[in-house]
Symmetry: C2
Subunit: 205 residues, 2 copies
Amino acid sequence: MSPRRSVADALSTRAAILDRSVAIASLEGLEGLTIGRLATELGMSKSGVLGHFGSKEALQLAVLERAGEVFRAEVWEPAVPATPGLPRLAALCEAWISYLEREVFPGGCFFVAAAHEFDGREGAVRDAIEARFDAWSARLCKEAGRAVEAGDLPGDTDPADVAFELMGLLMALNHALQLHRDPRAADRARRAVRARLRSARPPGA
Amino acid sequence: MSPRRSVADALSTRAAILDRSVAIASLEGLEGLTIGRLATELGMSKSGVLGHFGSKEALQLAVLERAGEVFRAEVWEPAVPATPGLPRLAALCEAWISYLEREVFPGGCFFVAAAHEFDGREGAVRDAIEARFDAWSARLCKEAGRAVEAGDLPGDTDPADVAFELMGLLMALNHALQLHRDPRAADRARRAVRARLRSARPPGA
DNA sequence: CCTACCGATCGGTAGG
DNA sequence: CCTACCGATCGGTAGG
């Protein structure tokens, strides 16, 4: 229909490859994602798949990029309307918990899984994963720092400590859901986040 | 030297295969552990390696068993002398933190990595990993329950909440050390564990 | 986007 | 424990 049909087709094919790749890699890992399997599932040839990216590593980086877009929409965006500081910190955690509960990725948090798969290696994929966690930690630290400034967390609180502890709760939830399939874990995580973010000030002070 | 030299040799060969397997799998994962690589590194043939176990899955299960022995010696045993309840809970956490700091396994906690690698699959390997975490959680819960009974933690504390939160701190530490190579993380984890286990009772009450 | 192919490696087996 | 081998699959390339 379009006069540049081949270009539009190429873009939509690329998008289809990436969506399928994200689904596979979420369960099997970024290494378990193979060109041959992708080709079979998509009804394409291997070279047809690979032609869009050039190499497996380039495909993996594109998959991380695509997963990052999903994460941004599902976790970062919902917290934007919240008031900076403690309320936004709580909103970020709630968005993360909800993102796991709703199984946005079938294998749990895409980046937690990728981090464990690549933390013992070197290269561009590992670096891309680390950069995403750096950005996430920085975001948590920033909001925690604002909460301290606003007096919503005790004045001697280290924002990095808060970010570290919240990350732990989120990782424990991911673990409980994926390995133990424990449906009570989400509420446990919510309770723990609430307790950690409760001001040391007496209510109403 | 021994009259049953071939039997003793077989056992020591098996032990050598498992030790090398643990080292490889810690960094590359239990699937990244291949018979061919093992054979090359040990100066054996592939069939010589495989003959000790029968299949790759049986090798993976034996590797988990061997890693479990190391974990028991490094994390469970050091906490045995501690008084049951809060002191032993603290000792278990400190042993775990030290076990990561000392890089007992080059790729961080063997079981956390294995859990993420296999939580999206089915089978005996996945089941063995889950069983180890069940045992670990039960242990933390038991000591937390004793701490509540002894009045060392608030009376309305859910021991499973404590175990969940401590697991989170340990996983956050593993992540910080492996992905971010952040040497400050161990002390951050110690601080957070101490804060979580601090009694709600005023000191000396 | 395809077919046809490359060398390397995978887990595993036969036979000794 | 070995050699020699199996079919399958890996990432990737040549040539169109």
